[in-house]
Subunit: 337 residues, 2 copies
DNA sequence: CTGAAAGCGCTTACAG
DNA sequence: CTGAAAGCGCTTACAG
């Protein structure tokens, strides 16, 4: 393993000063082309690669944004991470994927700057941490929230309109002839979390349509994995066989619900419609393919990035979504047709 | 945004020297308990968090390992990343997830140290880069390869036995009564890549069983996404309707193949068995659930980490695998039963 | 356009 | 057990 070569060696090799090398490496236009060429050759010959740590220390910036998500088991986060990385590149930034495990301790770690100035900003998908804890934050690292909204503190926030998208889904189901619509993955009404907003929209749409809200058709959950969807769907389908549609708070829940429906002998979409959020690749290959709310991920990444980098004024950004209709929510046939 | 407080401020506040603060922060046993308490209190009061960049520069180490994978669309990589992060934590290391996009340029970037000393080691899942390029490497950053094997250079390497696991799968299919077994995702025979090794095992098993190897039943591919599986399966099933099983080089291909089979009116597992690799969560919820080779991920993470940190002698580690049998490869019923 | 000096925030020997 | 100095590898003003 060869000894690492630094700016000094390069400067010596090229017969210029330290600083000139730095100027060349940073593409500053103040270097004579001739000198520049000599330096670049020295860099090449010596195989010099600048030590970013030195630069970062000096500049007081890492040009790295942390994306803090609970988990990578949800393909949505994986795709989000990838989209963010691509959006950050042209800006000269890197996105580091940080896993909180959904634990409150890990989340506080990032929120309160115990990451040690490694990041110029935080794009944060909160899971366990309370709104208060976010509002009480003193760490100066810029923060942007995904999904969750903290109205009290002026924390920027980027998300689709969860209430509206939920209304869209329910209306789509009602238009398709469904009347006994359940909800999987509910959280407390009035909360600001993604789950409670989606549930809120569901309630509002039912009310508007004049359909009753039945507690039996609603299953709460804080974890939204496939197995949770399976469990919750079993529960609802068993207790309320009249259910003819399930709004699932995310696609993983819907995938689990699909499996439960099958095990209980229910046919999707004939007996039961299934819809969810995120439009992960997997739902296109489910049988049948599942209807899902697709956020405009590129817009989301763009907005989150520009917010965390301080490029935009107001902090609350609503991202477009669309309902991607697939077979799982096909309208029920009129009886006898 | 408050001004950031450094060691100096803490030292002053506690009435001790700079260095003592450093000693306390690093848990060195040379500090009197009383002094230590005073320092910790100052840290608390001032809300001091050490700047890791300074430490990293001084120590010449970041205690960060890069996991370089082509993509996060494959849930296998997402789970691997998570497992590695958890395995690294007790060692005091962090794993940074780096996306190469499968591009040769990005891969070279990491391989040849142009990442700027940000990483103490590289766990690398090669995709586009050639074996030669890896062997010619001069960058001193420790490297461990995942999947691919470079025999010429002494590059450590961690993987399951791809040939053996492929043999296991094919034997399982033959035991289940399948006789016309195809392969999706083949690569050049004799290569060291994951795909070619899995194909190699398939060939060997067929030969051992006395079954013919038919080129029509084999579809090559360099991309292993669901849509590739769909396309390849369509192709093989159309040209060779006698196929009664497909060995898919990974689970995503199998998921796509399942969808293609359905669209062509083939029933899995009655008409067609489907098997793959990685045992991603998704295949447990497929309909029917898919048989898959599950690597011992914890062992893999452990081995990769200890190899890249230089904790073990020999570089080539073979990780246990097991075939998780599910409905997709159920034995065909004897005719008439 | 180029050079000599200072400093980013830590830790590491080295004295005491 | 504690203190003063040097240095990790860069970049940033500041002169010339």
């Amino acid at each position: 393993m060869a000894k690492r070569v630094g700016v000094k060696e390069v400067a010596e090799h090229a017969g210029v000063s330290w600083k000139t090398v730095s100027n060349v490496m940073n593409n500053r236009p103040v270097v004579r082309p001739e000198t520049r060429a000599r330096v670049l050759q020295a860099v090449e010959e010596l195989g010099y690669t600048p030590n970013l740590i030195g630069r970062q220390l000096r500049q007081g910036s890492t040009r790295t944004i942390a994306l803090v998500v609970p988990d990578l088991r949800n393909p949505y986060f994986a795709r989000l991470a990838q989209t963010l990385q691509e959006a950050a590149r042209p800006r000269g930034y890197t996105v580091s994927i940080e896993l909180s495990g959904g634990g409150i301790e890990a989340e506080q770690h990032y929120l309160h700057g115990r990451h040690g100035r490694l990041f110029d900003g935080l794009i944060f998908s909160p899971s366990a941490v309370t709104i208060d804890a976010m509002a009480r934050r003193t760490d100066p690292t810029p923060l942007v929230l995904l999904g969750e909204r903290v109205a009290t503190a002026r924390i920027p926030h980027v998300a689709i309109d969860n209430v509206a998208s939920s209304v869209d889904l329910v209306r789509h189901l009602i238009d398709g002839g469904r009347r006994h619509i359940g909800f999987l993955g509910a959280e407390a009404v009035g909360g600001t979390s993604t789950g409670s907003q989606r549930f809120e929209g569901y309630r509002a749409a039912l009310r508007f349509a004049g359909l009753p809200l039945s507690a039996d058709l609603v299953a709460a959950a804080d974890s939204w994995q496939r197995e949770d969807g399976y469990r919750l769907a079993q529960q609802v389908l068993r207790s309320s066989p009249e259910v003819d549609a399930l709004v699932c708070a995310n696609d993983l829940l819907a995938v689990g619900a699909l499996s439960a429906a099958r095990d209980l002998g229910r046919t999707v979409p004939d007996d039961l419609a299934l819809v969810g959020w995120d439009d992960i690749d997997e739902v296109r290959y489910a049988m049948p393919p599942l209807t899902s709310v697709a956020p405009d991920l590129d817009a989301l990444a763009e907005a989150a990035l520009s917010a965390v980098l301080g490029e935009r004024e107001e902090g609350q950004v609503v991202i477009d979504h669309r309902v991607v209709v697939r077979e799982s929510s096909r309208p029920v046939r009129a009886p006898g047709s």
